[in-house]
């Protein structure tokens, strides 16, 4: 009998530390599958963020480099410039990429670095205990917006993907969601495109992935998926942005 499904070579056989219903495990697996399918495991270098996914390198099975909070794209820029023959990607959360690291994000994009960026937007800081993220929705309750996010005090949800799409150096941006099996398939297609772009030398590619954080949304995993579909996607519409 033919084996039609197995653990990707790029993913280690280790249970993750993520909470039930969290999207990181799915996103990690998709990346591992894409790396295997593009046959780039021996060339890929992952740059991991500060946040829940800091130890993504404990789950993947290829070279990885940690970056300090927000600086993944500065680290990745240098790795790629130094070793253009390698495939370099960053994996960053909303706090990392769109708050503390906004400067690095914008300038790496603006330089048109030939990198692939996997941007996990779960509208909250997970690792530190559920504080407001730049992408937190208006009215959303978090550890630091106990009465719900109010734009008068905390501004509006930041649409960094739309902002980045204005830059000449950016070649591909798409927003996808892990709220359904179809969404997972779309996400894999988008990540594959972002990696393929780099292999072909196209330039800066970013996939924003809407992902659930049931723990800090104070929801059951199933309820969290419903909230992504009915609320989050309205604020962050899916589709190709550039």
């Amino acid at each position: 009998m033919d084996k039609v499904f197995s653990r990707p070579e790029s993913l280690q056989d280790i249970p993750t530390h993520y909470c039930p219903g969290c999207g990181h495990g799915i996103a990690h697996r998709i990346i591992a599958e894409v790396v295997d399918e593009l046959k780039i495991r021996e060339k890929v270098i992952g740059v991991t963020p500060i946040g829940c996914a800091v130890v993504a390198y404990d789950y993947w099975d290829f070279d990885c480099c940690e970056a300090s909070h927000g600086r993944a794209l500065a680290v990745a820029t240098a790795i790629k410039r130094t070793r253009p023959e390698n495939i370099v990607f960053t994996y960053q959360g909303d706090g990392d990429l769109a708050a503390i690291g906004t400067n690095e994000t914008i300038h790496a994009a603006n330089r048109g670095e030939n990198l692939s960026v996997v941007f996990i937007n779960n509208a909250v800081y997970g690792m530190t205990g559920g504080q407001m993220a730049p992408t937190t929705l208006l009215g959303q309750k978090t550890a630091t917006t106990p009465f719900g996010r109010d734009y008068k005090n905390a501004g509006f949800p930041l649409k960094i993907s739309e902002m980045l799409s204005l830059l000449a150096g950016v070649k591909y941006i798409e927003r996808v969601s892990l709220d359904s099996p179809q969404g997972v398939i779309q996400t894999k297609r988008a990540i594959r495109e972002a990696f393929k772009n780099q292999v072909e030398g196209v330039g800066f590619s970013l996939v924003e992935i809407l992902s659930a954080c049931p723990t800090y949304w104070n929801m059951a995993p199933k309820e969290a998926l419903g909230w992504m579909r009915n609320v989050m996607k309205k604020e962050f519409p899916l589709g190709r942005i550039k």
């Binding site: 495991r41 021996e42 060339k43 890929v44 270098i45 740059v47 800091v54 130890v55 390198y57 993947w60 099975d61 290829f62 070279d63 990885c64 480099c65 940690e66 970056a67 300090s68 927000g70 600086r71 500065a74 680290v75 990745a76 820029t77 240098a78 790795i79 410039r81 130094t82 070793r83 023959e85 390698n86 400067n103 690095e104 914008i106 300038h107």
Partner: protein
């Protein structure tokens, strides 16, 4: 050549393959020089969007195993401290030039030595030390670069070149003496580097150790390394130490003024000598101990362009075996030869 350009050329000849920096006076000649020469040499130059980005680019380049460098001046070096701590934690070799200006805060662009504590005591968070070299001439600034990269690679540790606006801006004749080292950009000569896991197990560059005991183990390893560095790498220049009754201690630019003062004092039949620490960390403790034990009634006079930072290390090295006097100015002021001679003669 200016000191800044000499350090830049020295880095290129030492095989520096990657440079990232952000403009700040008085070190702007370094990125300007690098932007042209690195391109000529087919190596990587990036003008970063900030000091934070620059030091983290150096982190990324160092992680791939190439020789990487950044430069800045005091406020910019403060911004780089988190990155330097990460370099130390991940045990990545890199060279950081600090062309000191006067602080605190924005201060001004006059020369100063007030970042001594920051450079030698760690500077960022955590229990670590960068190796700190302090040249006092344009030639020595140039010659420091291969040494800095060699020490960084040997110990997998960040190395800081601590200099100041005078040396950075000053022009002196220069002999391009050392043999150029070819940059090793793509050879995986460092088995720990991230280069893609072809024909080997994967490599991880990190400073995060969550499991109980793991971080303590890293720290013990670092401390063992620092002990070796302290035992082996202390460097200093001595002047008239054999018969000196008063020993003046200064580093970098300040030591040039002190050297003139010591010579003038000798002409006045005052038995002055000088110790110029070349490595500020590790501090050359042994020479102080040896002299203080060997000669009773020795007096030390520490002279700094600060209100007293290196003096603490001199006192620690002497451990109360000899009196330690101080002369210093800060905020852009430089003690003159006359100030020094007056201080010594008044002391008797």
């Amino acid at each position: 050549m200016t000191g800044n350009e000499a350090m830049a050329e020295g880095a290129i000849m030492a095989g520096c393959y990657f440079y990232a920096g952000y403009p700040i006076t008085p070190q702007n000649e370094i990125p300007a020089y690098m932007s042209r020469r690195m391109s000529e040499e087919n190596r990587i130059f990036i003008q970063a969007e900030s000091e934070l980005a620059a030091i983290n680019m150096v982190f990324g380049a160092a992680a791939t195993g190439v020789r990487a460098m950044t430069s800045s001046s005091s406020p910019g070096i403060s911004l780089k401290q988190e990155g330097i701590s990460y370099l130390a934690g991940a045990e990545l070799p890199a060279v950081i030039i600090n062309v000191m200006r006067a602080g605190p805060g924005l201060g001004n662009i006059w020369p100063s030595q007030s970042d001594y504590f920051q450079a030698t005591k760690g500077g960022g968070h955590g229990d670590y030390h960068p190796i700190v070299l302090s040249p006092s001439s344009v030639q020595e600034a140039f010659d420091s670069m291969p040494l800095a990269f060699d020490l960084a690679d040997k110990y997998r540790n960040p190395v800081i070149i601590l200099t100041d606006g005078i040396l950075g801006q000053m022009m002196e004749p220069l002999i391009l003496s050392h043999k150029a080292t070819k940059p090793q950009s793509h050879k995986p000569i460092k088995p720990w580097a991230v280069t893609g896991c072809k024909n080997r197990k994967r490599n991880i560059v990190k400073s995060f150790y969550l499991k109980e005991g793991d971080l303590e183990e890293l720290n013990l390893r670092l401390q063992k390394k620092y002990k070796t560095i302290q035992e082996k790498e202390g460097r200093f220049e001595g002047l008239f130490l054999d018969d000196a009754k008063i020993i003046l201690v200064a580093y970098g630019t300040m030591a040039r003024v002190v050297k003139s003062a010591v010579r003038a004092l000798r002409e006045m039949n005052i038995k002055a000598g000088m110790i110029r620490p070349i490595t500020l960390w590790p501090f050359p403790n042994n020479i102080f101990r040896r002299l203080a034990i060997g000669h009773k009634r020795l007096v030390f006079l520490v002279i700094e362009m600060s209100y007293g930072q290196m003096i603490e290390d001199v006192k620690l090295a002497l451990n109360c075996r000899a009196p330690v006097e101080f002369l210093g100015r800060s905020g852009g002021g430089v003690p003159t030869e006359e100030d020094i001679i007056n201080k010594v003669t008044k002391h008797g």
